[in-house]
């Protein structure tokens, strides 16, 4: 075995995410200016916020990049527990912050924060750690990860964040597959998950309406089908080359949340298929580089953590794009690095920091 003496991170992945963030700045400004002016009297309100969060995210990502993976294994459980506690704490009156009928935010001064986002990050690291622990028998691994998954799930459902719950379930399944378990276990969990989601949809009438609207949005174009139709209209009217930057028609309050949940639709409207493919390609780069790092990692923890974090970013992106394109029912999910949203950007930056740290270990000559 040749000894490599250099010590480098995955620059392509870093550059890719940097471009996504900067492109996000541009698109947030364009997509949100009307809404921001309407709500805050300042067209650049969301744009400015995103820049601040990007700086915080860079700092956090840098810290995690420099952090020793041994230390991380030590404090990941306490961190996860704290974030889960905070996730439940949003329901304590005075601490939580309600937006769009869902209580998911904690106030930190003038910035509000979603503990659920942080929970996802620590959850991935914790599950990776448990699966990588060679001293544990499979049954114990399943019990530990299964129970922590259930707790996180319950918290998300309690927040009416079905999207988040689906993402966590998919990450868990992905990790089960990669960890080398017999495939019938994830398959069974998948069936159980579908049943659970079906039950939850039946339980909450608004979820039912959304599902029906997804299946046939034209049945109620002014009501339940509105978002889907407006999103399809945005994407479709963009054509091959788009209407040009800032020329979106749909952002004029036709499309709800044009800067977060539907930013992909605005990109497809203003930049056309060219812009949409550009974004999809950048997501594909995350998938490719992230999994490349996992494959090349020399220890199980980094292998599982890298693939888990990659899954977290890519699954979120897929759900966001799928909703914008009308191939998935609508869920409030952000497009990592691009969508406006402090918690999302901060967590994405942290994930990137950890991925880059893993890449340095994977490509580097020395442990």
């Amino acid at each position: 075995m040749t000894t490599k003496t250099f010590d480098r991170a995955d620059y392509l992945l870093f550059l890719n995410c940097l471009v996504m963030t900067l492109f996000g700045f541009l698109m947030i400004y364009s997509a949100s200016s009307v809404l921001a002016y309407d709500e805050h009297g300042d067209g650049a309100f969301y744009f400015k916020r995103q820049v601040v969060w990007a700086m915080l995210g860079t700092a956090a990502g840098w810290a995690l990049y420099k952090l020793d993976s041994g230390a991380m294994k030590k404090w990941v459980l306490p961190a996860l527990v704290i974030s889960i506690v905070l996730m439940y704490a949003v329901h304590i009156p005075g601490l939580g912050h309600r937006v769009n009928g869902a209580t998911r935010w904690l106030r930190l001064g003038s910035l509000s924060f979603q503990p659920a986002e942080m929970t996802k990050l620590f959850y991935v690291i914790y599950v990776a750690k448990v699966f990588a622990d060679d001293g544990l028998p499979w049954t114990k691994k399943m019990i530990r990860t299964g129970s922590i998954t259930a707790i996180v799930w319950a918290g998300l459902i309690f927040q009416k964040d079905l999207g988040g719950a689906v993402i966590v379930a998919l990450i868990y399944m992905g990790l089960l597959i990669i960890a080398g378990l017999p495939l019938w276990i994830p398959a069974m969990l998948f069936v159980a998950g579908i049943a659970g989601v079906a039950f939850l949809i039946k339980f909450e009438s608004y979820r039912m309406r959304r599902l029906l609207a997804f299946l046939n949005p034209w049945a109620d174009p002014q009501g339940a089908g509105w978002q889907i139709i407006q999103s399809l209209t945005a994407v479709g009217s963009g054509g091959l080359f788009g209407l040009g930057y800032t020329n979106s028609r749909q952002k004029f309050l036709y499309l709800p949340e044009p800067h977060t949940d539907y930013i992909f639709s605005i990109i497809a409207e203003e930049w056309g298929m060219l812009g949409a493919l550009f974004v999809i390609a950048m997501v594909a780069v995350i998938l490719w580089r992230g999994m490349f790092i996992a494959i090349n990692s020399r220890d199980n923890f980094n292998k599982l953590m890298a693939s888990g974090l990659t899954l977290m970013l890519v699954i979120q992106a897929f759900i966001n794009i799928g909703v914008s394109l009308g191939v998935l029912p609508s869920k409030g999910t952000t497009l990592p690095f691009i969508s406006a949203g402090g918690s999302s950007l901060l967590v994405s930056c942290c994930a990137l920091g950890l991925l880059l740290a893993s890449s340095r270990l994977a490509y580097g000559g020395r442990r």
């Binding site: 009307v34 002016y37 309407d38 990588a132 060679d134 992905g174 597959i177 990669i178 960890a179 080398g180 002014q222 009501g223 509105w226 399809l232 209209t233 945005a234 994407v235 479709g236 009217s237 963009g238 054509g239 091959l240 028609r249 749909q250 004029f252 309050l253 036709y254 497809a268 056309g272 298929m273 949409a276 493919l277 999809i280 997501v283 594909a284 998938l287 490719w288 999994m291 996992a294 494959i295 199980n300 292998k303 693939s307 899954l311 890519v314 897929f318 794009i321 799928g322 394109l325 009308g326 191939v327």
Partner: protein
């Protein structure tokens, strides 16, 4: 320890399935953005139908002397999206009261299934204010503009007008639409999914931009006089129609342009085509005798010696090929210049017969007949000049005196301008420059073609035109005391309606001329269509109108005689008979005492005008050495010389002067003028007699007198 190979394989499977999802995305993108592109594009546009177009600030049109010829005044249109209007009956009630419209009509429109209707247009700001204040859902007052033409019928054919949508339909409003119209703005009006009004009611997506201002070459005072004189003349001689134009022959700039009947552009919809037509550019007619001078140009170019020949014009009737050519009287033998002076058709044909038809044709073509002049007004006709291969014998017996050829008034004026300006074809124009936000975005560039006629021939032709205005010429009524006028009358029979040949008593009577003949300042034309047959002759009807207008322009434009003594002026009955002094050569009075000059003039009984104050003659007009007659105007400009031999200037009294005259006078003194208003000077600062330095500024206010 995990099985590394198995893990890698499983990761690859996951990546593969993720790749499939990406393919689904790409497929859906193609589906939406390629196959359903049109559907969603229409949908998106239909949704933004609530965007309302807005256009404000059409440019102002100014005359050369700074008067407004067309201005925009703000008004509102009340528009609605009926689907969003609640409580339609009550809203209709209110709007009917506020705008003065019909309630039934408004209510009907509100109940229509349309997305967008106009409920009232051109509502003034006061009335619209009440509607804006109410802020009804679905009712959108939109700022528009209303055009006003302060010069009314005086300049209707120049300004033209713009329609309800503020698009120029006639005149310079149409020709310069691109500059005058501002940029269209868009205002979006938004409602949320449930039809609730949201605070962000309207967003100016695109700001409306004001149009550029036009500065015409038209002088409002000359225009007003020119148009008034045309109307008076046309009514006096009961003409069906008429046209008039004043042009600077040197440049082609048009100082006045009028048609009769005319119209008031403020109420253009009340007029028919007869009044709306800008005849001088759109109508063609057979020019008749005014065309002869161009035949003469061909003759003289062909044989310069012809100038001194004589030609037999018989007893007023001569047979050529298949027809009789007639003069209104028998002229017998005429010299060639006299053929023009007395306007003999027979003489013209006899002379033209000796010139090759191709040469005649190319001469006419040279002077721009048969092609558009390029005037910046819409609807110009190009006239009819058949190419020489289509000529026959009958043509040769007609075209020399202006039949079988059709011209526009503008073409005729341009061709005469070439005779006046030394032989150059100019492009007539009516817009001098265009300014936007204080920047000049367009300025007319003088277009002069090469010489179409050599100066020797030209001078002979101008001489002939001068004889026309002599006391026994056909244009004697155009003569002006003290000035040489070169011009030509025309009395052309009109074709009979529908049939062959010419109508018995329908004429087009014309006079076109320029002055002073030697160095022409202005060219003017009057034409009457079908005047009462009793007054058929151009020399009787159009020539006096020309003279009256020229007199006005001489004093208004401060046109000075050209120094040469016109025989017409001396012999004219208007000239004072008792002044029988010889012409004298003016001595140089400059820098001499005024008393000396005064003595000189009184001894010879020559009238003179003095300008300014002081005991020394600073400058004089005409220049020293020029020959002056008793009827010439002599002006001396006074000042003082200090002991150190410096010139001291006192501000002259400019009150009562026209703008141009005031500037001319100040120029002699080397002073600068700062003018405001238009018309005649009513006040000045510093006051008359105040000593100033050379290069000083005099502020003058002008005020127009309504009566000319």
């Amino acid at each position: 320890m995990l099985d590394s190979n198995r893990t890698t394989k499983r990761i690859e499977i996951l990546m593969l399935s993720a790749g499939l999802v990406l393919l689904v995305f790409v497929g859906q993108l193609i589906n939406l953005q390629v196959f359903h592109y049109k559907f969603y594009k229409n949908r998106a546009q239909k949704q933004s139908l609530e965007s309302v177009k807005q256009q404000i600030g059409r440019g102002t049109i100014y005359t050369a002397d700074g008067r407004e010829a067309a201005v925009s005044m703000k008004s509102y249109s009340i528009t609605a999206n009926p689907g969003r209007v609640r409580n339609k009956a009550a809203v209709a009630d209110f709007l009917a009261r506020a705008t003065g419209g019909s309630r039934a009509e408004i209510y009907g429109k509100l109940r229509s299934g349309k997305d967008f209707v106009y409920l009232a247009r051109k509502v003034d700001a006061d009335r619209a204010g009440a509607v804006i204040e109410k802020n009804f859902a679905g009712i959108y007052p939109v700022l528009e503009e209303k055009r006003y033409y302060p010069l009314k019928e005086t300049a209707g054919h120049i300004t033209g007008f713009s329609g309800t949508d503020n698009i120029g339909l006639e005149g310079v409003e149409k020709a310069y639409e691109k500059y005058l119209r501002g940029k269209m703005g868009t205002v979006l009006v938004r409602r949320d999914a449930k039809g609730r009004k949201i605070s962000l009611d309207s967003i100016a997506v695109k700001k409306a931009e004001a149009g550029a201002d036009l500065y015409l070459t038209i002088d409002s005072n000359i225009q007003s006089y020119c148009a008034g004189e045309l109307a008076r003349t046309a009514e006096k001689y009961r003409a069906k129609a008429g046209m008039a134009i004043v042009m600077k022959p040197e440049t082609g700039e048009i100082l006045a342009l009028a048609n009769y009947p005319t119209y008031d552009p403020n109420e253009f919809s009340r007029y028919g085509n007869e009044a709306l037509r800008n005849r001088i550019v759109t109508d063609m007619f057979e020019p008749g005798s005014t065309f002869k001078i161009f035949t003469m140009a061909a003759i003289l170019k062909d044989r310069p010696g012809a100038y001194n020949e004589k030609v037999h014009c018989g007893d007023g009737k001569q047979y050529f090929f298949d027809r009789y050519v007639r003069d209104h009287e028998g002229h017998g033998w005429l010299t060639v210049p006299e053929v023009i002076k007395y306007s003999s058709n027979i003489g013209m044909v006899n002379l033209a017969m000796r010139v090759k038809p191709a040469k005649l044709y190319s001469e006419y073509a040279c002077f721009g007949f048969g092609e558009k002049t390029g005037i910046d007004l819409p609807g110009e006709a190009q006239g009819i000049l058949r190419t020489v291969d289509k000529w026959n014998n009958a043509t040769l017996a007609s075209i020399p005196y202006g039949q079988e050829v059709a011209v526009t008034g503008m073409q005729l004026a341009r061709a005469y301008a070439a005779l006046a300006n030394g032989g150059y074809m100019v492009k007539p124009y009516i817009v001098d420059r265009i300014e936007k936000d204080g920047r000049t975005v367009y300025r007319h560039k003088a277009e002069k073609s090469g010489r179409v006629i050599d100066n020797g021939t030209r001078e002979k032709l101008v001489k002939m035109l001068e004889t026309v205005c002599e006391p026994d010429g056909t244009g004697k009524k155009a003569a002006i005391t003290g000035y040489t006028v070169a011009g030509k009358t025309g009395t052309a029979q009109k074709h009979s309606q529908g049939g062959r040949g010419y109508a018995y008593n329908k004429y087009i009577s014309t006079f076109i001329g320029f002055l002073p003949a030697e160095k022409p300042e202005v060219l003017a034309m009057y034409m009457l269509d079908e005047p009462d047959p009793i007054f058929q002759y151009g020399g009787d009807t159009a020539a006096p109108a020309f003279r009256n207008l020229s007199n006005m322009m001489i004093s208004y434009l401060h046109i000075l005689p050209d120094g040469g003594v016109s025989q017409a002026a001396v012999k004219s009955k208007d000239a004072p008979e008792e002044t029988k002094q010889e012409n004298v050569v003016l001595p140089d009075f400059q820098m001499k005492r005024y008393s000396e000059a005064r003595r000189f003039f009184t001894e010879r009984e020559i009238k003179h005008t003095r300008v300014g104050f002081g005991r020394t003659v600073i400058s004089q007009w005409p220049e020293p050495g020029k020959t002056v007659g008793p009827n010439d105007r002599i002006t001396v400009f006074l000042g003082d010389v200090t002991k150190t031999n410096e010139t001291r200037i006192y501000v002259p009294d400019l009150r009562g002067c026209t703008l141009r005259k005031a500037i001319d006078i100040l120029e002699v003194y080397g002073l600068k003028a700062k003018c405001s208003g238009s018309g005649v000077a009513i006040s000045q600062a510093p006051k008359p007699g105040v000593a100033v330095k050379k290069g000083g500024v005099v502020v003058i206010s002008f005020e127009s007198k309504d009566k000319t």
